[in-house]
């Protein structure tokens, strides 16, 4: 164990910074910096830029499918620098979630069909997991897929589908065996959302946006070649996916660091009476508390990246631990950002990724105000999505202490 900084990593960081200065479009960076979630256009365009300029769009995939030979630390540096610069996140459901599942469990034909399109930013993927009656208890899902010749016929309803309105393809959990135990009868299907019988209905959330959707499936015919792996084995693939999601994205630590730098900057500009808000000791103490927690999470993530998931780092619990604390910090910090706005914390600033006519328009209040409240509302969901904080605590207690 030693804590001297690694020169190669710092050189890599400079390389990423140079790349971002050169290739990240300014208007895209502005929207990201403000805290708006990227639209499908920004996400896919950024993936295309990464792919075409450096081949960095799916850096952590196996090399034969377009990955790089970056170390886990380099991947983290890359994500951190992208976040700090305001780069849009890619279409996570494609790049981070279904892509690795297809790499690991898909057949050759599926790899050929789906992976290049994700890598090149051509197709926008969404996830079809939760149902109205199956949230934390995901395995109780009821959407069915019944084999009919060369097709599965899918019927049911999915909900909380992130970015559902932009989805072109969906990876879907369906029940293919209604007799078996809940976990045993689930299959993992890839569905073209243009197929007849699919209806997408947006759900408006507290930020006024339509990030979420319900997706209805009525006699939707899905070719059997779109089944990933084996029938009734989908739960195993799902656990693989959820684990990836938690271990590497769980804390979303780069986003936490971006909040910190924004709070420092904005609270230096915003004034409380005669002095900058940051000079208020109560405000500064609160920020100090949060910063120290984030910096600890950041170090904990680095350790996990370096050691991998092992008994030393907390085994299967580690992703959940990072996710629980990370989610809490997302919520505290986005609340604090809105606090910085004072009166303007009450103003509604419409999302330029939802209503793209608004791009470039100026609004009243401080320059940095648009997007902050939207992010605050959005982040209420981060202790719910990917497994609620309570489910994560169950996982931790079981995995770490065998309780």
């Amino acid at each position: 164990m030693n804590f001297e900084s690694n020169a190669a990593n710092e050189i890599f960081r400079e390389e990423v910074r140079d790349f971002l200065r050169e290739h990240l479009p300014a208007d895209m960076a502005w929207r990201g910096q403000q805290g708006y979630l990227p639209g499908d256009d920004d996400s896919l365009k950024w993936t295309r830029i990464l792919h075409e300029t450096r081949g960095w769009s799916v850096s952590f995939w196996p090399k034969e499918h377009g990955g790089t030979d970056w170390t886990a630390e380099q991947r983290y540096i890359f994500e951190e620098e992208c976040y700090l610069a305001g780069a849009p996140s890619p279409n996570q459901q494609g790049v981070t979630l279904v892509g690795p599942v297809i790499c690991e469990f898909g057949n050759e034909e599926q790899k050929r069909r789906f992976l290049p399109a994700i890598k090149k930013g051509e197709v926008y993927w969404v996830q079809g997991f939760s149902e109205p009656e199956a949230g934390s208890d995901l395995a109780s899902l009821r959407t069915t897929a019944i084999r009919d010749g060369d097709h599965y016929v899918v019927n049911g309803q999915k909900i909380w589908t992130s970015n559902g309105i932009w989805g072109q393809w969906c990876f879907l959990l369906v029940r293919t065996d209604t007799e078996a135990k809940p976990q045993k009868g689930i299959s993992f299907l890839l569905v073209d959302l243009d197929t007849p019988g699919v209806t997408v209905r947006p759900i408006t959330s507290l930020d006024g946006c339509n990030h979420l959707a319900e997706v209805f499936y009525e006699n939707v015919r899905v070719p059997v070649e779109n089944l990933v792996g084996e029938e009734n084995k989908g739960w195993g693939y799902t656990k693989f996916l959820l684990f990836n999601e938690r271990a590497f994205l769980g804390a979303e630590a780069p986003a936490l660091k971006r909040y910190l730098s924004k709070i420092r900057r904005y609270a230096s500009q915003a004034r409380a009476g005669a002095q900058p808000l940051i000079q208020d000791p109560v405000f500064a103490n609160r920020l100090a508390e949060y910063e120290l927690e984030v910096l600890a999470i950041d170090m904990a993530v680095k350790r996990v990246l370096h050691l991998g998931v092992s008994e030393q780092t907390g085994g299967m619990a580690v992703g959940s631990m990072l996710k629980v604390r990370g989610s809490e910090l997302h919520q505290k910090l986005t609340e604090m950002l809105v606090d910085v706005l004072g009166d303007y914390g009450s103003a509604y600033y419409p999302d330029p990724n939802e209503d793209r006519e608004l791009r470039g328009q100026r609004f009243i209040g401080p320059e940095f105000a648009p997007g902050l409240a939207a992010e605050l509302f959005y982040r209420r969901a981060c202790s719910i999505y990917g497994g609620s904080a309570e489910i994560q605590r169950n996982i931790i207690a079981k995995a770490m202490f065998n309780l």
Partner: protein
Amino acid sequence: MNFELSDEQRMLQENARRYMEKSYAFNNRQAIAADGHFATRQWQEYAELGWLAAGIPEEFGGVGFSPVETTILMEEMGRGLLLEPFLHACLLPAALIQHCANEAHKLQLLPAIGSGEALIAVACSEPESRGDVAWVATRAQRRGDDYVLNGRKSMVVCAAQSDWLLVVARSAGETGDTEGLSIFLLPRDTPGVLLEPVRLLDGTPAADLVLNEVVVPAASLLGAGGAAYAGLQRAIDESIVHQCAEIVGGMEDVLALCAEYLKTRKQFGVAIGSFQALQHRMADMAIETMQARASLHRGLAILASVSAADDERSAQISGCKAQVMRSAKFVTAQGIQLHGGYGVTEEFRVGHHYRRLVLNNAWFGGMDYHLARYARSIQQACAELA
């Protein structure tokens, strides 16, 4: 950075853990604590184990370990609830001497600390310092070839047991100034040094030092007069990181004790670990412990950083202590809670970690001091940005 323990580090850890588990089992420890005295025999054993020399450079007869290794030791001592003042009477004086003393003093004192021949107590804090290293009201006035010391130093661990005292006093400037601090080495029985002894919460002996017209020769100055602040602060920063390691070791023991207890203690006919309220509490305790360990690692990274300026380093170390302390307060308090009534008794190990934390919060500044200090560094950085 590399988080993998080297073979040498792993061996150090395993040996220390085995020693604590076998020779320092809870019963033995209770017997030592009941005695209320400094256990000279134990101290000699630590010398033989090589612990006292661990952090001392090789050219002064030491092992030459870096803080990464000495914190591994501290962690095991925290896990096993070591009573002897390894930090106060070994690491801290050795660090002060390394960072502040001239070559002659180093040659005289460092090997003696490492071998256990000399016990040196450090008198740096005062009743009003509360963690502020520069808050020194004790005066050192030059008189001919001598200095005359007057003032009060608080809670000097093992003062009465020590052979030597390292006393921080002000030879110039006003209380609170970083300029004008000097460190003096004096024999414990120097005339005019009055000890007001006290037992600490865990039985460790300590004393307030009342210095009344204490005359010491100028040669007893450790390094240059009036210029001790930088080295003193560095030594305290290193001590705080070691303190964090001790606390993290203690937290891990609390987790292990609770996990065991929750599986064996039955109520309503079932093991209480089957209750979700308690499972979730354990999850939260695990998360806090992860954050505390990460903060310890941050502290080590800051100590290893060559680029950090002194002020920045100190503020960051303060931040690490604030975070470790906040996490540890939660974990040790909940450790008691999960043990029910047994948690508050002397016979149960878990409560001793909580009590030890009270000591660690008092030493070198508490959570509030360090959080506020880190907050001020944020304010300063923002002001410079604007």
